[in-house]
């Protein structure tokens, strides 16, 4: 199966490990993700402003280009891109007046866009389509004994209309982990915000959030945490070392993209630049025989 693929900016830079391992895993599962020939930065954060449509131009232009390339569905790996693109198309679909104004701003001669021509999906939804047992069958290993804390964050679950699973009690990541032979760890902070972009302005917020989330996972026995969002990854991973610098009792927890773990389970060793990790995951991966 072929699907359009929107990478977004970070997947080409600090989240390279995510992109490489995800594409490799998808290939193993029989999915060919075809990168869009023309795409723009989505804006990262969906603009919630109701009266200024200009803030929606970037994500919508990307979707128009995808349609023009003949795609009816596109995949995003980054959850922030997913959230922004998906909400932008819903925002446009909801109102004909909005469609009229937006189309006025698009390239001369471009066919008008309604918002529903291209569907945006995320990796977990694609996994569900492929079938959780199918993933387990193709990737799973027995005897791993790895306790994994799945971390959802915000953008896959909120707002409700774009939630990829039950917004207050999701299970999809746990299902995937279980199917491939890992032990998902239940802990209360798995859908709590990591502090997001305040890493720039108010890093104290991110410090507090990271500590709360990591300690919660640790206390419940996690040996590694998996995420799907490059910003969550940066916050939860890099800040741990800063916390440890001020508090030596703080115990770190390696943070991986879910696809990094799946690739290793499938025996795909390449594609990881371990220098992009602050907390080195190699010791635990080696101990479990994954490296």
């Amino acid at each position: 199966m072929e699907i359009g693929y929107y990478p977004g900016c970070t997947l080409k830079t600090s989240a390279r490990n995510f992109e490489r391992t995800a594409l490799a895993v998808l290939e193993l599962l029989g999915i060919k993700a075809v990168e869009l020939s023309e795409w723009y930065c989505c804006g990262v954060n969906f603009s919630q402003v109701q009266d200024n449509l200009m803030l929606q131009l970037a994500p919508l232009r990307t979707l128009m280009k995808a349609r023009d390339s003949g795609f009816t569905r596109i995949l995003t790996l980054c959850t922030m891109c997913y959230n922004t693109l998906r909400r932008a198309s819903l925002f446009l679909q909801a109102d004909e007046e909005r469609q009229r104004i937006i189309n006025d701003f698009m390239d001369r001669g471009a066919a008008s866009y309604r918002g529903d021509e291209v569907t945006v999906i995320d990796l977990l939804t694609l996994f569900r389509e492929i079938g959780i047992s199918e993933i387990g069958h193709k990737i799973g290993r027995s005897g791993i004994d790895l306790k994994v804390a799945p971390y959802y964050g915000c953008m896959l679950l909120r707002p409700r209309e774009v939630a990829v699973d039950d917004a207050s009690d999701p299970t999809i990541m746990e299902e995937v982990l279980q199917s491939v032979g890992c032990q998902p760890v239940a802990y209360p902070m798995r859908i709590e915000c990591c502090g997001s972009y305040q890493i720039v302005n108010e890093p104290a917020v991110v410090w507090q959030r990271t500590r709360l989330i990591v300690e919660s996972a640790r206390q419940n026995g996690a040996e590694v945490m998996v995420v799907l969002c490059p910003l969550c990854h940066y916050n939860l991973d890099s800040v741990q070392l800063e916390i440890q610098r001020t508090d030596s009792r703080f115990q770190t927890l390696p943070v991986l993209y879910l696809t990094q773990l799946l690739a290793l389970l499938a025996g795909i060793g390449e594609g990881n630049d371990w220098s992009l990790h602050s907390v080195d995951p190699r010791p635990i991966l080696k101990a479990k025989g994954l490296l």
Binding site: Q48, R158, C193
Partner: protein, 137 residues
């Protein structure tokens, strides 16, 4: 104790309140002050007044007081409040409304030049762009 409020129809429905309503599309009068937004907010510890108090102040027409707080700038747009609100009010949009009202007055909350270059290089683009989107116009 904070200053006494002299309430009038004009104060409650003042032009700034109207702008926040237009930007956010949220009818703040539907809020019944259950406090769930504040209870669930991950950044509430860093705010000077909690989200439900922002809603209350807007109901009472205290727009300037709201705009003088740090709260909208601390908001993470994580939508925990919006999902939890029993009146299905998108409180995060109200925060966006407050931020935008200020930004549209040609005020930039955040200046990229205040970041040292080491930090700037270390941060991933996703963090910087998200931050610009919330704090600049």
């Amino acid at each position: 104790m904070a200053e006494k409020i002299i309430l009038t129809h004009q104060k409650i429905n003042g032009p700034d309140a109207e702008v926040i309503h237009e930007i956010s599309g949220v009818n703040v009068f539907a809020c019944y002050q259950c406090g769930n937004c504040s209870a669930t907010c991950p950044a509430v510890d860093f705010m000077d007044i909690p989200p439900h108090q922002i809603m209350r102040n807007l109901q009472l027409g205290l727009v300037n007081e709201v705009l003088n707080t740090k709260t909208p700038w601390i908001c993470l747009a994580c939508l925990s409040c919006s999902v939890k609100c029993p009146r299905s009010l998108d409180i995060a949009r109200v925060m966006e409304g407050c931020r935008n009202l200020i930004l549209r007055r040609k005020y930039e909350y955040f200046n990229i030049h205040t970041l040292d270059s080491e930090t700037r290089l270390k941060l991933p683009p996703i963090a910087l762009i998200a931050n610009f989107r919330k704090n600049l116009l």
